[in-house]
């Protein structure tokens, strides 16, 4: 087992070598999110050896860990203290790491009610494109000193720097969770999601999977029971269901081809997407095939959002399409953090 310092030295020399040789590197933990992106280029910088929770005091509601720490281990530690990662991150395999969880920015069923990875990131320690060790944000819950680089790293897929450590805000686990089902068609399910999301109830997840609308309530026992009385619905076993949605092991995700994620206004019409799986109170629609990225993007554009190829992208093809003005800003961010394009070339965009 190498010490953490020697692992950091290896990271540094890989970055410096890439810079000298004008090549690029690909930062990788468990590889559980390798399915996502435009392309996978560059020599792998393996973060699996860089592990450990470096700071965690439950009453501070803050956890700091090294990027290679297995996500499982973090969730287990939190669970022992009756706490959780509020964004319920998908693992997408058995080897997911904490760094990958931050870098992918993927969030689970609780996203619409609690927030995404980026909402809970408090700070980050990174190696930049010169292999310099830098700290942004912090280990406290509110911090507006300097630009919010640590949030910017959430969802950046290792294309702006190598995340060494991250600090996140954690929350107590709800005292009780109850999942209830409603037999509805897709249109009524969408309407119901929006109605429930606008009601003062402890809603923590919604999903329409083609058959039923599942609604999860989380909070104090008395609050959950009272809310259930108010909204009705048949009680169902919830944990494994939400697990299957989060990890995309639900039969809906078993198809082949291209899986698109349409992130739109929660009231956007069903339109031709009658086969969609709908999550996050209506704002996320998962669809298989059924058209090209451009066609999906047209629909998403019309309804205030974006389409992304989530799985099954043909290497080299773009996974999203954004306005030219926005693309310019995206490229400027990339250039300012990684001017030589060392990190994760073409992972997020076909152009850089």
């Amino acid at each position: 087992m190498r010490t953490n310092e020697t692992v950091i030295d290896r990271f540094k020399s890989q970055i410096i070598d890439a810079k000298k040789q004008s090549t690029c590197v690909r930062i990788r933990g468990g590889g559980s999110k390798d399915f996502y992106g435009v392309n996978l280029e560059g020599e792998i910088v393996d973060t699996n050896e860089f592990t450990g929770i470096t700071e965690y005091e439950p009453t501070e509601l803050v956890l700091t860990a090294r990027s290679g720490t297995p996500l499982k281990e973090i969730e287990q530690t939190l669970n022992e203290n009756n706490q959780m990662l509020p964004f319920e991150p998908p693992h997408m395999g058995t080897k997911a790491t904490f760094g990958g969880c931050i870098a992918s920015g993927f969030s689970g069923p609780r996203r619409a009610s609690q927030g995404a990875v980026r909402d809970f990131v408090l700070g980050a320690r990174i190696l930049n494109a010169d292999a310099v060790d830098l700290q942004f944000g912090g280990k406290v819950m509110k911090n507006v000193a300097g630009f919010d680089v640590s949030r910017l790293l959430a969802g950046s897929f290792g294309t702006l720097g190598l995340i060494l450590e991250s600090s996140v805000k954690v929350l107590p686990k709800p005292e009780m969770e109850r999942t209830v089902l409603f037999d509805l068609d897709i249109q009524s399910a969408l309407e119901k999601m929006n109605t429930l999301a606008g009601s003062p109830i402890p809603l923590s997840a919604t999903c329409f999977d083609g058959n039923q609308l599942a609604v999860r309530l989380s909070g104090s026992e008395i609050g959950v029971i009272a809310a259930h009385k108010k909204i009705g619905g048949e009680v169902s076993e919830g944990a494994s269901y939400w697990q299957s949605i989060k990890e995309q092991t639900h039969p809906f995700f078993g198809s082949e081809g291209c899986l698109y994620r349409l992130s739109v206004n929660p009231t956007a019409p069903i339109n031709r997407y009658t086969d969609a799986l709908i999550e996050w109170n209506g704002s996320t629609r998962w669809v298989w095939n059924n058209g090209t990225l451009a066609e999906h993007q047209d629909f998403a554009n019309e309804h205030g959002g974006h389409a992304t190829v989530f799985r099954g992208n043909q290497l080299g093809n773009p996974i999203s399409s954004i306005s030219p003005a926005l693309q310019v800003l995206q490229q400027k961010i990339k250039n300012s953090m990684d001017p030589d394009g060392i990190f994760g070339k073409n992972r997020l965009f076909a152009e850089f």
């Binding site: 909402d119 494109a129 300097g146 402890p202 008395i222 929660p266 704002s283 399409s321 300012s336």
Partner: protein
């Protein structure tokens, strides 16, 4: 090193004279929207931080997005420096004008453009007051969660620029967690839509970068904010303690019990007394500290949380507990907390409101050290504290017209901020860096980290013409400050014990 060190120009100047620039603005704005005579400029000389007034060269007040873009284009063409201003309530001096520049005031863009009660969002212009959003959405039983103390006056554009918080952000988050989309005007005068009506957008999270960027990257002309269902009920507990440390421990005990209150505030004796004399909120004048803890949700949830919290507080040694009896009583308890700043302002004519965040467990130690500094600087300091999220607001009281009090207050403030960094915290939790804390940025961040900020700044504003001299220090400034800082520390108070 690959990144060459490149500093920013702290003193940019326009390519053309004031008269020509005024003419250019008058060609796109109405006469009342362009101010250039000293008497018309004076009202804009400062924001909520009054100690460093500065008269801008020209003030412009565009009435719509198109005019904002045209002003930006004119400034871009003639390289005129720009400072943005919303309601001017900021406490860190982020909207203090630049004497060689244009002050772009967004207060005339104050329309609520659209409310979607089903989709649960509102589209508003930047000059809309924070509180006006919740007032307008009340009939739909929805509200906008972030509630800075200045919410009746501060505007949403300023909230985005500063990433404002408030007393409910432990449970509901800051501005960054409660907005979906902005229309952003670049220095070139181009409009970019950042974010979406959905929850996630492709690519880098520019919304997170723009939020809290203190007018250094561009200006926002429209904000889409998330609306939340108004909780059925809210109830507050006021708990007195005979010891500050006990109150601090009670906060940790509440969290340890798995409770995330909607609000969790702490005030020390000086703050309690100032507030009580100011508005008579019914606060305990004899307590060493008090906590204000709010629960919200359904009646059932609130009842159960209030009961649990009360038990924890009793166990933690609260000497007196009052539970709000009705909505009027609850609002009265909060009115005290929300008027803490002006209340302190009545004790002495001036005060500095500091804004450090610290790990909660260091609170007793930090409060002790802040109190010890009262002797060191010969000034009084009251403390109000967003205890739930560790955000401390020491209020240093002084009279700027009395001897070197202003100077001592500045040193006192700087010492508190440095203390926050020392215990693992940050110099600003929600008020922003502005000009007030710009030197302390050099303590919290090293040169390479500052260089990263400067590189990001340059990506949007290559010549450093947006809000010059604010938020991100130049490397030069840090070099000078570092030099002065050590020097001053050695010289000024050589025989004062430090603990």
């Amino acid at each position: 090193m690959g990144h060459s060190e490149r500093d920013l120009n702290e003193n940019p100047v326009a390519l053309i004279d004031k008269q020509t620039l005024v003419k250019k603005f008058l060609s796109v704005l109405s006469t009342e929207s362009v101010k250039y005579e000293t008497e018309d400029l004076t009202p804009f000389e400062c924001d909520g931080l009054s100690a460093y007034p500065q008269i801008p060269m020209i003030v412009v007040l565009p009435e719509n997005e198109d005019q904002v873009c045209q002003v930006m284009r004119i400034c871009h063409q003639y390289k005129a420096p720009i400072v943005f201003r919303g309601a001017g309530t900021g406490l860190s001096g982020g909207a203090i004008p630049y004497d060689q520049g244009v002050l772009l005031v967004l207060s005339k863009l104050k329309r609520i453009t659209h409310i979607d009660p089903v989709g649960r969002y509102a589209v508003v212009q930047p000059g809309v007051r924070n509180a006006a959003i919740s007032e307008a959405t009340k009939i739909h039983e929805l509200y906008y969660a972030p509630d800075p103390s200045s919410q009746i006056a501060c505007s949403i554009g300023g909230n985005v620029a500063e990433n404002s918080g408030g007393v409910h952000c432990l449970k509901y988050g800051l501005t960054v967690n409660n907005i979906l989309k902005v229309r952003f005007v670049t220095i070139e005068g181009d409009i970019v839509e950042i974010g979406s009506e959905g929850l996630d957008s492709p690519g880098y999270d520019l919304l997170a970068l723009v939020t809290g960027s203190e007018g250094l990257l561009g200006v926002v002309t429209e904000v889409t904010v998330k609306l939340l269902p108004t909780p059925e009920k809210a109830q507050a507990i006021m708990a007195s303690f005979d010891d500050v440390e006990k109150a601090g421990r009670a906060v940790a005990d509440i969290i340890a019990a798995g409770i995330i209150p909607a609000g969790l505030e702490m005030m020390d004796k000086k703050a309690i007394n100032a507030v009580e004399q100011f508005i008579g909120a019914g606060y305990p004048m004899d307590a060493a500290a008090m906590l204000l803890c709010e629960s919200d949700g359904s009646s059932e949830e609130v009842a159960s949380e209030i009961q649990k919290t009360t038990e924890v507080l009793n166990k933690a040694g609260a000497t007196e507990i009052t539970i709000s009896s009705d909505e009027t009583h609850r609002l009265k308890l909060w009115a005290g907390r929300k008027s803490a700043f002006p209340a302190v302002g009545r004790v002495l004519p001036d005060y500095f409101c500091m804004d450090g965040t610290i790990p909660r467990k260091t609170l007793p130690d930090v409060l002790k050290r802040i109190a010890a500094m009262e002797d060191q600087f010969q000034l009084q300091c009251a403390n109000v504290f967003h205890a739930g999220d560790g955000n401390l607001h020491p209020l240093i009281m002084f009279d700027a017209n009395e001897g070197d009090q202003l100077h001592r207050a500045e040193l006192y403030g700087a010492a508190i901020l440095e203390l926050c960094v020392e215990v693992g915290g940050t110099i600003t939790g929600e008020h922003g860096v502005g000009i007030e804390k710009i030197n302390q940025m050099c303590i919290q961040f090293d040169n390479q980290e500052i260089q990263t900020f400067l590189n990001l700044k340059r990506a949007f504003d290559p010549d450093g013409r947006l809000n010059p001299g604010k938020a991100i220090p130049t490397l030069n400034r840090c070099a000078e400050f570092g030099h002065m800082h050590v020097h001053r520390g050695e010289e000024r108070f050589p025989d004062i014990p430090r603990f």
